[in-house]
Amino acid sequence: VILTPHWRRRLATACLLVLAAWSANRFHWRSLSWRWPGAVQANGLSPEQWRAKGTGFGFDPDYAVFLDAVRRATPPDATVCVIAPRPGTHLSYVYQAVFTLLPRRVVGPGEAAVVPFVAFYNDDRALALPGSSRIARGVLIRR
């Protein structure tokens, strides 16, 4: 089939429109209804409070409350062991703990015996351990 220049131009334009339409269709149009207020209005929340209510803690909103309590209860230069005892724990628990508690250094359960602070998420059994105290959604051990 031989296309005239005129039809080549039309076909090229149609191809670009298909490409643009496919790209535009990847935009989450329905999300605009809740994104718009967040983008243009001050909501009175502190950066930490806003982060706690955002998509990042969608996997477990209570975890944000717990990490905030750990943050308040530990000095900025502390090393903290965070134990989130969930079967099949996904990496978001680790990433959120390390990021939220900065500039504290966060370590895993392997170092629980040697660090000055150990925080247990949603595990009251740790209250039986020496130096433990209850914090929001968990227990903190101070040595």
Binding site: L3, H6, R8, R9, R10, L11, A12, T13, A14, C15, L16, V18, L19, A20, W22, S23, A24, R26, F27, H28, S31, L32, W34, R35, W36, G38, A39, V40, A42, P47, W50, R51, G54, T55, G56, F57, P76, L91, S92, V94, Y95, Q96, V98, F99, L102, P103, R105, V106, V107, G108, E111
Partner: protein, 439 residues
């Protein structure tokens, strides 16, 4: 002053300082291109200032020094504001069409701005890699060794370069406090700069409509400009790719000190963002070596592209010592394991076909038809660069230590999407003959 206004001020300072520092290398470019280059060079300068202050006065608040040094860098722009603009070729085609296509592009940027600023950055890779480093640098006012050598955070890609974390830390300094939302303003600004770079380049080459089409395609490419990419390096990297691409196309025309400086600045910007950026700059050097016009020296342009990459890598190695990437198993490259590796390449291609190509079959078919029915454009040499980069991504995925499926699922589509703005430049150059569009 709100945090967003502070970040906006920081970005404005970055653009102005970038323009001041790169005045000579930007001579002859359109205003749109100058804005894009100003941002890229300004981000390099802001990161350099942040690093300098963190190293010189670790632990000290660097809000005031950063503002003072940025102002000093901006002064040359204020003094010479009457500099003459370069005369561009008169726009061909319908200025009306160009205007409306650009309005559509601006709408794309506005939509992504709403997305980027609607909530604090939260993507796992932001928390685990870019934001983690930026927040550490900001809160400690230093670049602590634990960013590179802490066994508890081996997943944070300690081997990655630090331009983005330093820029996010600098923007938080301008915002007067750590804030996970305000620095996100960088992302729609980078989107706008990428569209402007493509438009400005094609406009300068007399392809105003093609430039506007490229800008609109870029601004509306929501697979890249997506909420799950806010906080990552891919969106700024796409700007770097376009800057390398336009500077390389200029180098095919003429080899001047200004062009070579632009190539070096763009290569450094890419290399300092992500390893894919280094790869792109080195591949651009190879494309130049393979396709340079007859009689043109090989070393100058290739050197301008490759030298910043290797110097940056050497500086990083000296500063933080050796860091092995845990993502790739290079043992597959040994001749004894080539058979295994080939099998993995097959698995990789199969996974990509199943997961990504099938999902993008319609636009890929549209692209194929577009290339069949249009004539060669001035940006076609970038097609080799894109093909080479994509092929190397496939090979890299096949070497993944966690299995090819892992990287196909988590990263391949994202890193390929960052190449789209360069492809849009190629497409725009092909419709650049304004008569190619129907009335």
């Amino acid at each position: 002053m709100t945090a967003i206004a502070g970040a906006a001020l920081g970005l404005m300072a970055a653009v102005l300082s970038g323009l001041a520092a790169s005045r000579r290398m930007l001579a002859g470019l359109s205003r749109a291109e100058k804005a894009a280059w100003g941002l890229a060079v300004g981000l390099l300068l802001q990161a350099a200032l942040c690093l300098l202050l963190a190293l010189a006065r670790p632990g000290a608040d660097f809000t005031l020094p950063l503002a003072v040094l940025s102002t000093l860098l901006i002064l040359p722009v204020l003094r010479r504001s009457s500099a003459t603009e370069t005369a561009l070729p008169p726009p061909s085609g319908s200025p009306f069409a160009v205007k409306w296509i650009l309005v559509a592009a601006a709408a794309g940027v506005a939509l992504f701005s709403v997305v980027a600023l609607s909530e604090p950055m939260w993507v796992p890779d932001y928390l685990a890699v870019w934001g983690l480093k930026a927040k550490t640098i900001f809160l400690t006012a230093s670049v602590p060794g634990r960013l590179f050598h802490d066994p508890e955070t081996l997943w944070s890609h300690p081997e990655y370069p630090l331009l983005l974390p330093l820029d996010l830390a600098a923007l938080s300094t301008w915002a007067r406090g750590w804030d996970d939302r305000a620095p996100a303003l960088l992302y729609p600004i980078c989107q706008a700069a990428t569209a402007l770079a493509a438009f400005g380049f094609l406009r300068r080459r007399g392809r105003a409509v093609g430039g506007a089409v490229a800008a609109a395609l870029i601004a509306w490419f929501f697979p890249l400009y997506a909420p799950e990419h806010v906080g990552l390096a891919d969106i700024p990297l796409a700007l770097g790719f376009v800057l390398v691409g336009t500077a390389l196309l200029d180098a095919f025309e003429t080899d001047t000190p200004a062009v070579r400086t632009r190539l070096a600045a763009a290569a450094l910007f890419c290399a300092a963002l992500k390893p894919e950026g280094s790869l792109f700059a080195v591949l651009a050097a190879l494309v130049w070596l393979a396709r340079r016009p007859r009689g043109r020296a090989a070393a100058t342009v290739a050197g301008a592209l490759a030298a910043p990459v290797f110097l940056h890598a050497a500086a990083l190695r000296l500063a933080r010592g050796p860091i092995a990437s845990r993502d790739f198993d290079l043992g597959f490259l040994q001749p004894a394991r080539w058979g295994q590796w080939l099998g993995r390449v097959g698995v990789t291609v199969g996974e990509i076909t199943r997961a990504d190509i099938a999902a993008a079959a319609v636009p890929l078919a549209a692209l194929a038809v577009f290339f069949l029915v249009t004539r060669r454009g001035l940006a076609d040499p970038l097609g080799h660069l894109l093909a080479g980069q994509a092929a190397l991504y496939v090979l890299a995925v096949s070497l993944c230590a966690f299995g090819p499926a892992f990287l196909v699922e988590t990263a391949f589509a994202r890193i390929v999407c960052a190449l789209f703005p360069v492809l849009a430049l190629v497409l725009g150059a092909r419709v650049g003959r304004d008569e190619a569009l129907p009335p």
